[in-house]
């Protein structure tokens, strides 16, 4: 069920402004790829093009191609809504739906897409919460509001919500940046578990985290202020952290800048 992502010559624009230029990369199925780099270099922007969330922003558009196995995500016949069902996303700040209970939050994706049968929903809710390592903590209060959980629990709730629609790929945009170290550890463990079923791409500012969770690391940078961001280097995480090809990658990783 996990799928492979092929990005080729991707240019990303906000209106007339070219934000990211010439990204080419491959993400293998059932692997974790980390995007690292300084703020504003386009990591999140690239991530959001992988499920066509970029175009939600007025003026957002792309040139180039993103292939999911053999399907072109940006083919004119492709429905962005269908793409997002296949490629799930977890955001930087936990964002459970405030009007919904824990159960409804997890079931939201299915229910809003027309699944009504209670037995099906209940099963998916339990499976997804188990998958997100949250089941034991919330199983007795599924009808309580999702916004009442702690930050770390909310983020795992959002992950449960994302995997409940059974995506092929899971995108995570700095999922731990608003969490404490314990919650971060819980999410990282979860990423390790999820890897066996999903293709995961994670944006992170925490290089230790990239080193801990990812198989492959991509380093993004700006050529200069005002220039578009670009992919400097991508490779096996071990190699990127021990023996990067590019000087800029080494400088960033060793803390000489950024």
């Amino acid at each position: 069920m996990a799928k492979r992502i092929d990005v080729k010559d991707l240019d990303i624009y906000y209106g007339d402004f070219k934000a990211v230029e010439g990204v080419t990369m491959t993400v293998e199925p059932r692997s974790v790829t980390a995007f690292i780099g300084p703020s504003g270099c386009g990591k999140s922007t690239v991530l959001r093009t992988l499920n066509r969330m970029h175009e939600v922003i007025p003026g957002g558009r792309v040139e180039g191609s993103v292939m999911l196995d053999d399907q072109d995500l940006y083919a004119s016949s492709m429905d962005p809504v269908a793409v997002r069902r296949t490629v799930g996303m977890v955001f930087q700040r936990p964002n459970p739906f405030p009007t919904m209970s824990i159960r409804d939050n997890v079931a939201a994706g299915l229910r809003l897409n027309g699944v009504k049968k209670k037995s099906v929903l209940d099963e998916v809710v339990e499976q997804s919460l188990r998958g997100a390592n949250l089941w034991t903590e919330v199983k007795d209060r599924l009808d309580k509001p999702g916004a009442g959980l702690s930050g770390g629990q909310q983020q795992r709730l959002c992950i449960a919500r994302a995997i409940a629609v059974n995506p092929q790929v899971l995108l995570m945009d700095e999922p731990c940046s608003a969490l404490d170290p314990i919650s971060t550890l819980a999410i990282e463990d979860l990423i390790n578990d999820l890897k066996s079923e999903y293709t995961i791409v994670i944006v992170t500012h925490n290089m230790q985290q990239a080193a801990r969770v990812s198989d492959q690391t991509a380093f993004f940078n700006l050529k200069a202020t005002g220039e578009p961001g670009r992919l400097v280097e991508i490779g096996e995480t071990q190699r990127i952290f021990s023996n990067p090809t590019e000087k800029a990658t080494e400088d960033y990783i060793s803390g000489r800048f950024g």
Binding site: T99, G109, N113
Partner: protein, 308 residues
């Protein structure tokens, strides 16, 4: 405590020089400012409350006894002259409620959908034009709205003055307030919730219906009820389009329909006590209706409150 602090505290202040370093004492200037600000705030609060209490008090005193009589809630003014005691306000209460309901039924869908368009879809020239038009509509005096509908309904289309024409004028006044209040509430819904919904593969229209509007629901309802409360007390369009009648009338398209504001307006110039009592009674009834509407708004707001 270190010896340095002890020394400092023990040092006598130089004559005539304030000791700013002493803890626990307010400087004189700041205390004065504090008291002044307090007095001004309480005064402002008092000034704001006085007319409110005054109005409520005198309406209660002068009109309260009318509402206690059950006749007030069951009879109309049919056959009652200003010289005679008796009769009720049910014709006017009914008229006000019917007109408010019809006005709301027309204004709420138009207003809420316009707000949804402006917040969720509106880009470019059309949205700017719509927004500008709403601004202009907000500023229209109610008597102008009444005259406009009169010109349209009576002069141009040649119809009679009926309650439906009144509701058209009231809707003109209510729609912009609903658009503005709903717009504000929708803008308060964090964009992250919309994105979270899109990322689950939920189409935009469903995101709006199931996520955005429910999150803003209590605020939208409050805005609608406040708009409705305002419209229920509106008088100018009613004088132009819906003159007073003493009998119960429920037909929107035939004949006149009494309302509380026109009932008040009808008898207010009378010198006779029975008529004056009715003016106060109708005023109190109108205040009560609006008050109950506000209570309802709070109840609905609490009932559907965002959980968390």
């Amino acid at each position: 405590m270190s010896s340095a602090q002890v020394d400092h505290a023990a040092a006598p202040p130089a004559a005539g020089v304030p000791t700013p370093s002493a803890f626990g004492e307010k400087s004189g200037g700041r205390a004065v400012k504090d008291v002044t600000a307090r007095v001004v705030m309480w005064l402002a609060f008092g000034i704001a409350v006085v007319p409110l209490v005054w109005i409520l008090g005198s309406t209660l005193v002068k009109g309260g006894h009318m509402l206690v009589d059950s006749v007030w809630w069951t009879n109309s003014q049919s056959g009652i002259t200003s010289r005679r005691v008796g009769g009720g306000a049910v014709h006017a209460i009914q008229g006000t409620l019917i007109q408010a309901a019809v006005t709301a039924a027309m204004s709420v869908p138009v207003g809420v959908l316009t707000a949804v368009y402006l917040v969720e879809y509106g880009r470019g020239r059309l949205a700017r034009t719509v927004s500008f038009m709403v601004d202009i509509l907000t500023g229209i005096p109610s008597i102008v709205a009444g005259l406009f509908i009169y010109a349209l309904w009576v002069t141009t289309l040649g119809f009679q003055r009926v309650a439906f024409a009144v509701t058209l004028a009231l809707a003109m006044l209510m729609i912009p307030t609903i658009v503005r209040s709903t717009e504000e509430m929708l803008k308060l819904v964090p964009n992250e919730l919309r994105e979270a919904s899109y990322a689950l593969g939920v189409p935009k229209w469903k995101t709006i219906m199931k996520i955005v509007v429910p999150t803003a629901f209590s605020g939208i309802v409050t805005g609608v009820l406040l708009g409705l409360a305002r419209v229920m007390g509106e008088t100018a369009p009613l004088i132009i389009l819906g003159p007073y009648t003493k009998v119960i009338a429920t037909d929107l398209f035939d004949g006149l329909m009494a309302t509380l504001p026109t009932m008040i307006n009808q008898d207010r110039t009378e010198a006779l006590q029975p008529a004056l009592d009715r003016v106060w009674g109708a005023s109190l009834t109108l205040i009560l209706l609006v008050f109950m509407l506000n209570l309802l708004g709070r109840f609905v707001g609490r009932f559907s409150k965002v959980k968390g």
